[in-house]
């Protein structure tokens, strides 16, 4: 009897040992695979971060030597081989201000409508959302075509025909048309940021306001919008950053390579650092002579967009923290 039981238990022990070995092997493979997975995905992240560092390093190293107050405050000289980029900076600032005035209120209004008034399932809401998502994806060069076809050729020429008896004033590339084109381009940025901020406003605030007898309009504009203002600010900052950097939409709607005079009004052309970078790096007859200026211009552009983006990140982080505390 004992012998038979021993005989029966022997295979079982072997079986157990084999199982344990298999389990150990499996955990070892798993550990290896886990490590490989983490290392591989971590490496991709490092590559992505390295790209940014590389670009920054190169631009800062080559751009700082030529950067000076004179560079920022003077006009270009000697066929773009000397002087500074003041007219370009000024042109960009004017364009961005016009763009903000034209675009931000519309974007904020759309976001308020979408989040505070519209029924989330109505066909109009859905259509607006699809339009916003697609507007964000329209290639920037198509915005340039649109600006030329609509603002310059249609609206501008129309204004000329009715007000200036066919004389070309607004029917040509101009500051105002570039700014309006850019306003359309940055519309989704403002809408998305504002809506996110509106979503973060606690429901109780709205209810409290309504319970106190405020109308819907009063609730939205005296309670909800002030609470969401950091988000609106974020959207505006991001829009400005985008508008300052884009080139394709202003190629045919108002940007000029070199202007002897500063822009005089809405109908004059303007210079822009981003366009400056494009022209200097592709169409310069003397690359070595313009290279320091080119790098310095890129540095200015990059510093500007980075400052704006970091500001947006900070404002948004603060807003999120506050919303988290409130909720």
């Amino acid at each position: 009897l004992t012998a038979s039981s021993e005989a029966a238990s022997a295979p079982r022990t072997v079986d157990r040992a084999a199982q344990a070995a298999q389990a150990a092997r499996r955990t070892r493979t798993n550990l290896l695979a886990d490590g490989a997975f983490a290392v591989a995905s971590g490496a991709t992240l490092l590559i992505v971060l390295a790209i940014l560092v590389l670009i920054l390093f190169d631009v800062i190293r080559n751009g700082t030597p030529h950067l000076s107050w004179a560079f920022l405050s003077q006009a270009p000289r000697d066929g773009m081989t000397g002087g500074g980029i003041f007219p370009a900076i000024l042109g960009m600032v004017e364009m961005v201000i016009l763009m903000t005035i034209a675009g931000v209120p519309i974007g904020v209004a759309t976001a308020i409508y979408l989040h505070e008034y519209a029924s989330p399932v109505s066909w109009l809401t859905r259509a607006i959302r699809i339009a916003v998502a697609n507007l964000a994806g329209v290639p920037s060069i198509v915005f340039g075509l649109f600006g030329l076809g609509f603002f310059v050729q249609f609206v501008g020429a129309g204004i000329d025909k009715t007000l200036f008896h066919g004389e070309k004033v607004y029917g040509q590339p101009a500051l105002i048309w570039a700014a309006l084109t850019m306003a359309v381009l940055t519309l989704p940025v403002v809408i998305v940021a504002t809506e996110e901020a509106l979503r973060a406003v606690p429901r109780e605030l709205r209810e409290a306001s309504l319970a106190l007898g405020a109308t819907k309009f009063q609730t939205v504009f005296n309670v909800v919008v002030p609470q969401a203002s950091p988000g609106i600010l974020t959207g505006t900052i991001l829009a400005v950053s985008r508008g300052a950097g884009e080139v394709a939409p202003i190629l045919f709607t108002g940007a000029a390579y070199f202007l002897p005079l500063l822009p005089k009004g809405l109908s004059s052309q303007f210079m822009s650092p981003s366009y400056h970078v494009y022209v200097l790096s592709t169409q310069s007859p003397d690359v070595d002579a313009t290279k320091p200026i080119l790098y310095a211009t890129v540095l200015v552009l990059l510093a500007l967009t980075f400052t704006l983006n970091i500001a947006a990140v900070v404002v948004r982080a603060r807003m999120r923290r506050r919303a988290g505390v409130a909720a």
């Binding site: 886990d34 997975f37 995905s41 490496a43 991709t44 992240l45 590559i47 992505v48 971060l49 940014l52 670009i55 519309i106 209004a109 308020i112 409508y113 979408l114 008034y117 109009l124 607006i128 699809i130 339009a131 998502a133 507007l135 994806g137 329209v138 290639p139 920037s140 060069i141 198509v142 340039g144 075509l145 649109f146 076809g149 609509f150 519309l187 306001s209 405020a214 109308t215 309009f217 609730t219 005296n222 002030p226 985008r242 300052a244 950097g245 884009e246 080139v247 394709a248 190629l251 045919f252 981003s274 494009y278 790096s281 592709t282 552009l301 990059l302 967009t305 980075f306 983006n309 990140v313």
Partner: protein
């Protein structure tokens, strides 16, 4: 009198600390005393001292939350004042701006492209069908699709541009999909909250780099590196511009993938772990499949960006309109062609019309890609939303 008392009671509701137990009772006798407390706070004599005090307090507290003007509760739900409703109408009108913008973009790019269908002058040089066909041009041995709009015999064959666009896009996607998704996997699955808090804004910075700066970097720096490393014939080529383009696409794919990966419900992970799956098995067989619609959406939106991106390609691809399969040859994309040529064409001419036609094509293609991506995001949200 009743009106005044009403306002007064309401005022006490707003400033609870002032309220006394008897304050809630509408007894007439205690009224003057309470009015005097408020007037001591600074309201000078007037027809309605309490309303002055309210005004003042409201002004003081407006820095935090704008307390709506103290008024009796509107129990008889009267209509909002006319100008409120007018402002709301305006809001509704402005809200359709995005739709108007999309429609206007399509209408006005298509409008400038339309003469290709009917204008005699334009159709003498190019028609919709001829653009897509190979032709035996004078000076060529065999029928070819050639893009040479500025020459004695303008040639508008679009295939070189389409091949160029595809080449650059494929290179960009080949780099950005693994990098974007891989980084998203790391940040969402392995990295701690602190790392994520640092990495996400940094990637946003990468997204914020103007495309002209990326193009500049590709043109001045990367092109030289690539030439030194690979000993390429043409300094500017599809490879350089594709890699530079991927820098612009990576943030798009990363952001959406990371969001999708983090939106996968915890219960999925717990179930998988409970079944004895290792970490990598859970990630590879549970989390990634569950997040796949979101990742696909990210890839789709990234693809839309890659197809339509102009400045990077314009500056770094060399812009030679040739049909070749080699990635190290120069390439010319649709978007770059429009940007490079539109400034020098005759308004309303054949070339102008064709460029607008290409723009319309680009718009429709990216619109399609984005709509698919957007739909995928929505589906993903619905699917994951219903299971939690």
């Amino acid at each position: 009198m009743s009106q005044g008392r009403h306002a007064f009671v309401n005022d006490e509701c707003f400033h609870a600390p002032v309220m006394t137990p008897e304050g809630a009772t509408p007894a007439g006798s205690s009224l003057p005393a309470r009015i005097s407390t408020i007037s001591r706070e600074g309201a000078s004599a007037g027809e309605s001292p309490s309303s002055r005090a309210i005004e003042r307090r409201k002004r003081r507290s407006s820095a935090r939350v704008n307390v709506p003007p103290a008024r009796p509760p509107r129990l008889n739900l009267s209509k909002a004042p006319f100008w409120h409703r007018a402002a709301e109408w305006l809001l509704h009108a402005l809200a359709i701006s995005a739709i108007v913008a999309i429609v206007l973009i399509l209408v006005f790019t298509a409008k400038e492209a339309a003469p290709i269908l009917y204008s005699k002058v334009v159709r003498e040089e190019v028609t919709l069908v001829k653009m897509w066909m190979t032709q035996l041009w004078p000076g060529y041995d065999e029928a070819q699709s050639v893009w040479q709009p500025v020459s004695d015999v303008p040639k508008f064959g679009v295939w070189p541009l389409i091949v160029g666009t595809l080449k650059v896009t494929i290179v960009a996607m080949a780099f950005s999909v693994p990098l974007g998704v891989g980084a998203a996997v790391y940040v969402s699955q392995y990295a701690g909250a602190r790392t994520r808090e640092i990495v996400k804004p940094v990637v946003e910075l990468l997204a914020g780099i103007p495309s002209v700066v990326l193009g500049f970097f590709a043109l001045m720096v990367m092109a030289t590196w690539f030439q030194n490393v690979f000993h390429l014939e043409s300094r500017l080529n599809a490879l350089v511009s594709g890699v530079a383009l991927s820098f612009a696409v990576i943030p798009v794919i990363f952001t959406l993938s990371e969001e999708a990966l983090r939106a996968v419900p915890r219960s999925y992970v717990e179930a998988s772990t409970a079944l004895g799956a290792a970490r990598w098995q859970t990630i590879g067989r549970v989390i990634l499949p569950a997040a796949s619609p979101g990742i696909a959406a990210g890839i789709a939106l990234g693809l839309g960006r890659a197809v339509g991106e102009t400045m990077i390609v314009l500056m770094a691809s060399g812009n030679a309109a040739i049909i070749s399969a080699s990635l190290t040859d120069s390439a010319r994309t649709i978007a770059a062609t429009i940007a490079a040529e539109l400034a020098e064409v005759v308004f309303g001419g054949a070339h102008y019309t064709v460029l607008f036609f290409l723009g319309t094509l680009l718009f429709l293609v990216t619109f399609g890609i984005n709509t698919v991506g957007d739909w995928a995001i929505r589906r993903m949200k619905r699917r994951l939303g219903s299971t939690t």
